[in-house]
């Protein structure tokens, strides 16, 4: 992933999550869809792991990870990647 002319390495899980969000850019992707993309159909119980990976992704793509602009949380439902972040 490139940001500010820097190349940031992503783990396979982070890449999968980001790819899934990018494919549905501008739209909400549920926790379930993200977990399924990463861990397959037996994903129950991995929500906390997902949150951890989302935090790591924010640390890489957000200027202020504690106040995310691009990778938005839709509480209780999932996450959304703002459209411009697909660049």
């Amino acid at each position: 992933m490139h940001r500010d002319e820097c190349t940031l390495p992503l783990t396979a899980t982070e890449r999968t999550i980001l790819q899934r969000l990018t494919d549905a850019r501008g739209h909400i992707v549920t926790y379930d869809a993200l977990c399924q993309a990463v861990w397959g159909s037996g994903y129950y119980g991995y929500e906390n792991s997902l949150n951890v990976h989302i935090r790591h992704l924010r640390e890489k793509i957000e200027a202020d990870p504690s106040k995310p602009v691009w990778l938005q949380t839709v509480r209780g439902i999932g996450y959304r990647l703002r459209k411009e972040a697909s660049q």
Binding site: G26, H27, I28, V29, T30, Y31, D32, A33, Y44, V74, R75, G76, I77, G78
Partner: protein, 455 residues
């Protein structure tokens, strides 16, 4: 049909009762008449009493302590052993003579000069008292004692036999009357179940059977007509919906294009408005089509196993995507509800939930918070959609609770559809106001008896 059996039993009981009552009344009347006439002294004064009232005077003449005028006799005489008259009172001149033994034997049995006479012995001789001519009739009647014994001993069994014969014929007539009625009753049962009826029109209930056959034919014809009409209506609505989709898609597509590519802000805004309204029309047409199919059972349920948590989040994600900033959504799913599994038509239930969410947003244009709660109540899944907006108008709640829709009633197609979809799943839904509008859906989490919300 139990009613027919009851009628027949009552008919037989009534017939038997009437016959027995008539017999008893006749017996009572006969007995009463005999007793009454027997107690009257107008025709037959007790001869023994009169005869014992004779007294011999000191001079050897006779007299009676009971005057003749106190009796029913018109004349009387006292005969000695030779047939000579010892005493007489009011004796007609033609009878004032002595009598021989054969004469006495004759008038004792029959009449004396057409006068019916009563004859009784006393200490002084034979008292002969005459009744008025034509007052009584004498019969040459005697009865064998064996016959009397047989009559007395046979009366009880005879009465029982009579009762048995009466009951038998009542049952026989009742059975004969019941048979055509049972056929009629079975025909009515079949008619009530919506089946065709074709009864034999012969016999006492033939006219009734004929009318029933006619009613059946008419109902079957009406049912076929209704089915044809429903099918035609469903097909028409589906056809119109299909025909509308294409031009709508065109409008939406061009509006999106103008919205994205238009340079003028006003044009872009108008294009956005066209797109939004077109989507509303599209949804309305889809709802109309679906409600029509559900109403006429033309849309079979395609049940599948659905995990509640992912399904709910997916529905809300789709809804929130198009939500403006004035509206927000909060979701509260209990752990048990999140892991619950429902057998439902995913597409239809998604539509139902979407209708509830859109309804809350649309009727609170200035904004509101929509809260979606999901929890398990035993084996039942309970889903509620609540907003903190204006709530349901009273007129809407009335219609939703089953009041007849009038011309001015609010059009609530979307909520009607929710009702139909939940009903099709054998669930229940209710709408009420509580700090805003609330709609609650209850569904069974497994294939068992449906649950109902308290009303």
């Amino acid at each position: 049909m139990k009613t027919v059996s009851r009628i027949i039993r009552r008919y037989i009981s009534a017939a038997f009762g009437i016959v027995v009552a008539v017999l008893l009344v006749n017996a009572a009347l006969l007995g009463g008449t005999v007793v009454y006439w027997g107690s009257r002294q107008n025709t037959y004064y007790p001869m023994s009493r009169y005869t014992s009232s004779f007294v011999r005077q000191a001079d050897g003449s006779f007299d009676t302590e009971i005057p003749l005028s106190d009796t029913t006799f018109c004349w009387a005489m006292l005969l000695d052993a030779d047939g000579s008259i010892l005493w007489q009172e009011n004796l007609p001149e033609s009878l004032n003579h002595s009598y021989t033994v054969p004469e006495i034997a004759s008038f004792t049995r029959w009449y004396l000069d057409d006068y019916p006479v009563m004859v009784y012995r006393n200490d002084f001789g034979l008292v002969v008292a005459g009744l008025p001519r034509g007052s009584i009739t004498r019969f040459d009647f005697y009865m064998d004692n064996h016959l009397i014994d047989a009559f007395l001993s046979g009366t009880g069994p005879l009465l029982l036999l009579d009762a048995g014969i009466i009951l038998f014929f009542c049952l026989l007539l009742g059975w004969k009357a019941a048979k055509p009625l049972r056929d009629i009753a079975q025909g009515i049962d079949r008619l009530a179940e919506g089946n065709a009826v074709c009864l034999k029109t012969a016999g006492s209930a033939g006219e009734l059977a004929e009318k029933l056959n006619q009613a059946s034919e008419r109902l079957q014809a009406q049912a076929k007509m209704i089915e044809r009409r429903d099918t035609a209506r469903t097909n028409w609505i589906a056809g119109v919906s299909h025909d509308i989709r294409t031009p709508l898609s065109l409008i939406v597509g061009y509006a999106e294009q103008l919205e994205q590519d238009g340079h003028d802000a006003v044009i872009r805004q108008k294009a956005a408005s066209i797109r939004i309204q077109s989507m509303k029309i599209k949804k309305l047409v889809e709802d109309l089509n679906l409600t029509s199919k559900l109403q006429y059972h033309a849309h079979p349920l395609r049940r599948e196993t659905v995990n509640v948590g992912p399904w709910l989040r997916q529905c809300l994600a789709a809804f929130c995507d198009g939500l403006d900033e004035n509206h927000s959504v909060e979701i509260c799913i209990s752990e048990s509800a999140d892991r619950a599994i429902l057998k439902m038509d995913r597409e239809l239930m998604t539509r139902a939930l979407d209708n509830l969410l859109v309804n809350s947003a649309r009727h609170n244009p200035d904004g509101c918070m929509i809260t979606v709660r999901a929890e398990m109540d035993g084996n039942c899944f309970k889903l509620s959609v609540q907003d903190n907006g204006a709530g349901y108008p009273a007129a809407v709640l009335e219609v939703l609770r089953g009041a007849a829709e009038t011309e001015h009633a609010p059009h609530i197609l979307g909520l009607h559809l929710v009702h139909q979809i939940v009903d099709a799943h054998h669930g229940s839904v209710r709408f009420f106001n509580h700090e805003g509008g609330v709609s609650e859906i209850m569904l069974e989490a497994a294939d068992s008896a449906p649950m109902r919300l308290p009303t």
